[in-house]
Symmetry: C2
Subunit: 373 residues, 2 copies
DNA sequence: ACATAATAGCCAATCGATTGGAATAGGCCA
DNA sequence: TGGCCTATTCCAATCGATTGGCTATTATGT
C-alpha cells in the first residue's frame, strides 16, 4: 500500500455545548389528522378524504370543497402515509438492494432509479445486501414485512435463494445488471456487445494477443462479458489462451490479484492487451503492472468496461467502454413500476450501443514484455 | 408500460420471450396475518401478538406459546410493518437526504449510516434533495407524511428554510457535515484542523505562497475549512492574498473554473501550493493546471481534502487529508437514533484527527510559474 | 303538485397489529 | 364449601385514511 499516514499532533474540540431534548418541543401541537379537518370544516372525514384526493365519483359541492381546502391549508394537513398504506395496501416505496455502496458504478444506477421514481413520487429504500449466504436480515424484512411494493436487486448471483424465494412469493422484483435462474424480469446492458467493442478496438490497433480479466462466474453479467469476449476473439480468428484469462470479483484488490496471477501464469508470454470487465478491477490491475515495471500502454494496453468521470484522471487515463448504466437504472425502475401495476415484465437487454471512450491506456502493441524474472 | 425499444442498427434483442403477469402468481396464497395464526392456533390475536413479541407483562402458558410459535412458523407469518407502524406510531425508518449521489464521498457516509442502522434494524430511505430553492417534493413528503421517524440531512445550506421548518416541527433531525442557523443537532468532522494539517504539510515542504480553492460560502463546512486555512496561514505568519483564494461548489467543473479564475487573477504570481477543499474540485483544478502546461507538483503542489481510494490512481497521485467521513455517518446515525429515543442532542465535532495521506501531488516548491501569456 | 331521479354527504366497516381492561378458570386458604 | 387470588386468555378500542352503501336533500319531469 502506498498510504503513508502521518498523524498530526492531537487536539480535540467540541462545538457549542447547547443541547435540547426533542420531546419537549415536539409536543407543541401534534400534526393535524383527517378528523381535525373534518371537525373544523363541519363535515365528515370521508368527505374530506374525497375532496382532498379529488375523487371523481363522489364530488362535493363547490362551496364545501372550498371550505375543506381552506381548513386543510390552515391546519397544514398532510395525509398520513402509514394509515393510507394500510388501507390501500400500497406503500409507494421500493427497495433497492445493492452489493456495496462504495462501488462508484452504483451511484449512476441509483441516479437512474431516482429519475424514474421521483417523478411518480415513489420512495426508495436502499439496503446493502451481503451476498447470498449471509443472514441478510435487511432486505428479507423489507419485503416480507410489507414495507415496499417491489424491489430492484443489484446483487443477485445466478442462484440466489433469497431472490428466488421473493420471486416465488409474488412480490414484484426486477434484477438490475444481473439475472437469476428461473426469475423473469431483468434489465441488463448489452455486455456481449460491450466486450466486442473493446476487442474490436484492440484489434484495430494491431493487437492479436489479447487477454481478459473477467468478473465472477457466479454473476450473469460477468459470464456474458466473458462470452462476448470469446465470441469476439473467434470472430477475429485470434488465439484464446486460458492463461490469458483470469477471474475476479469487481474490486480493486481483485483486479490486482488477477493481474498478478496473469503474470504468473503467462510468464514472458504476457498478452499485449487486456479487456478488463470492471472499472475498479482495471485500476487495481493497472497498478500491479506499473509496479512490475510495465509501461501502459507501451508494454500492455488496457481497456475497461464502464465509463466513469474518474477514468479521465487516472495514470494513464483509461480507455473505457461506456455502458448505459444510468439508463439501465431508469429502465429497471420503470419496469418495476409497470410490474407493480400488474403489467407483464420480461428480460430485456438495453438496445443502447456501448460506446468506446478513447484515452491513453490503449495504443498499438510495443515490443512486448521481455523482463527476466 | 414495458418499453419495447428498437435501436437504429437493429441490434435490439430480447431475452427469453417468456413474460409473466405478477398478479396471476401473486394470488397463489396471500400472506398470513395475525388473525390466521390466531384462528389456527385456537387463540385470540392479541395472545399471538404478545407471544411473538415476547411481552413480559402478560406471558402465555408454555404450552400455548409453543403452539403459537409452531403455527406461526408453519404459516411463515411475518408481522406487517405498516399496521404495526400505524399502531405504535413508529416507522423504524429514517430519511437520508443527499445532494448528489454522484459525489464519491457520499458512499462513505452512507456506509457509516448503514453500520449504525443495520444493527438496530432501521431502514434508510435515500432522497436526492435539490437545493433549498427547488420545490423539493421528495423529502418534504418523507417527513410530513410520516414516512420516517427522523432525518439525516447532508444538503443543508446555512439557512435552508425546509430544514428550519422540519426542525421546528419537532421531527428529529441531524445535520451531517453541515450546520444550519438555529438548528441544534449536527455532526461534522474537524474541518478547521483538516485545513491546518494541510497547510502545516505544505509549510513543512517549504511553501510560503499558498492558495486555497474553497467550498461554497453558503455551506458551513466550506466556511470552516476556509476559516481553518486562514488561521493556519496566520499561525505561520504567511501572507494571505485574496487573489489566491477562489470559491466554488464541490464539483469537478467547479474546481476547473476556480483554477482558471486563480490563474487569471494571479497572473504570473501564482501560489506555489494549493489547498483544495474537495476531492472532485481538486481533480478538476489539476486538469486545468496540467492543460495550461504546469507540472504538478513541480510548478504547483496540490493537496485536497477527503481521502478516497481513487486518489492513489490519479496523475499524479493526490496527497490528501483523510477526514473521518464514515465515522461521521455512523456518529450522525447514532445521534439520530438517540434523538428519536427522546435523548438530548448536541452539535458535535468528531474528535478524530484528520490524517495526512502523502502522495505525489505535493513536493517542495520549484522555480514557480513563469509562462508568458 | 307529486313522483322520481340525481346529488351531496354521512355511517360504518376495513386494512393488521397493539394494548389496557375485563373475564374466566383453577388453586389456595380458612 | 365459600371466598379470594392469580395466572391466562379474551374483548374491544385504537392508530388514520379509504370506500361501499345508505340517507337526506334538492332538482327534474309531467
Amino acid at each position: 500500500m502506498v498510504r503513508r499516514v502521518v498523524s498530526a499532533n492531537g487536539s480535540m474540540r467540541q462545538g457549542k455545548s447547547a443541547t435540547t431534548v426533542f420531546g419537549s418541543s415536539r409536543s407543541e401541537s401534534r400534526a393535524a389528522v383527517l378528523k381535525d379537518v373534518a371537525l373544523r370544516a363541519g363535515v365528515d372525514a370521508s368527505t374530506v378524504s374525497r375532496v382532498l384526493r379529488g375523487d371523481e365519483r363522489k364530488p362535493a359541492r363547490a362551496e364545501t370543497r372550498e371550505r375543506i381546502l381552506q381548513v386543510a391549508r390552515e391546519l397544514g394537513y398532510r395525509p398520513n402515509s402509514v394509515a393510507r398504506s394500510l388501507r390501500t395496501r400500497k406503500t409507494e416505496a421500493i427497495g433497492l438492494v445493492i452489493p456495496d455502496a462504495g462501488n462508484p458504478g452504483f451511484a449512476e444506477i441509483f441516479k437512474g432509479v431516482q429519475t424514474a421514481t421521483a417523478q411518480t413520487g415513489w420512495h426508495v429504500i436502499v439496503v446493502e445486501g451481503r451476498g447470498p449466504n449471509h443472514p441478510d436480515l435487511g432486505w428479507e424484512r423489507l419485503v416480507f414485512e410489507g414495507r415496499v411494493d417491489g424491489v430492484l436487486v443489484l446483487t443477485a448471483s445466478l442462484r440466489d435463494p433469497l431472490v428466488q424465494r421473493v420471486a416465488r412469493s409474488g412480490v414484484p422484483l426486477v434484477l438490475v445488471n444481473r439475472r437469476s435462474d428461473g426469475v423473469v424480469g431483468s434489465v441488463v446492458v448489452n455486455d456481449a456487445r460491450g466486450a466486442e467493442v473493446a476487442v474490436d478496438h484492440l484489434v484495430s490497433l494491431g493487437h492479436r494477443r489479447i487477454g481478459h480479466i473477467a468478473g465472477p462466474p457466479t454473476i450473469d453479467t460477468g459470464r456474458r462479458r466473458t462470452a462476448g469476449f470469446r465470441a469476439a476473439m473467434r470472430k477475429h480468428a485470434l488465439p484464446l489462451r486460458n492463461s490469458w484469462i483470469a477471474g475476479t470479483d469487481y474490486t480493486e484488490a481483485g483486479g490486482a490479484e488477477a493481474a498478478r496471477s496473469l503474470m504468473d501464469k503467462s510468464g514472458p508470454d504476457l498478452p499485449t492487451a487486456l479487456y478488463v470487465a470492471s472499472f475498479l478491477s482495471g485500476i487495481g490491475a493497472m497498478k500491479v503492472f506499473k509496479d512490475a515495471g510495465l509501461r501502459i500502454p507501451h508494454d500492455i494496453s488496457i481497456i475497461v468496461s464502464d465509463e466513469l468521470a474518474l477514468a479521465a484522471h487516472t495514470n494513464p487515463p483509461l480507455t473505457t467502454v461506456f455502458m448505459p448504466v444510468r439508463r439501465m437504472g431508469e429502465a429497471a425502475a420503470t419496469m418495476l413500476l409497470a410490474a407493480m401495476a400488474q403489467e407483464p415484465v420480461a428480460d430485456i437487454v438495453l438496445p443502447d450501443e456501448p460506446q468506446l471512450v478513447l484515452r491513453a491506456s490503449t495504443a498499438p502493441p510495443g515490443e512486448g514484455w521481455r523482463v527476466s524474472r
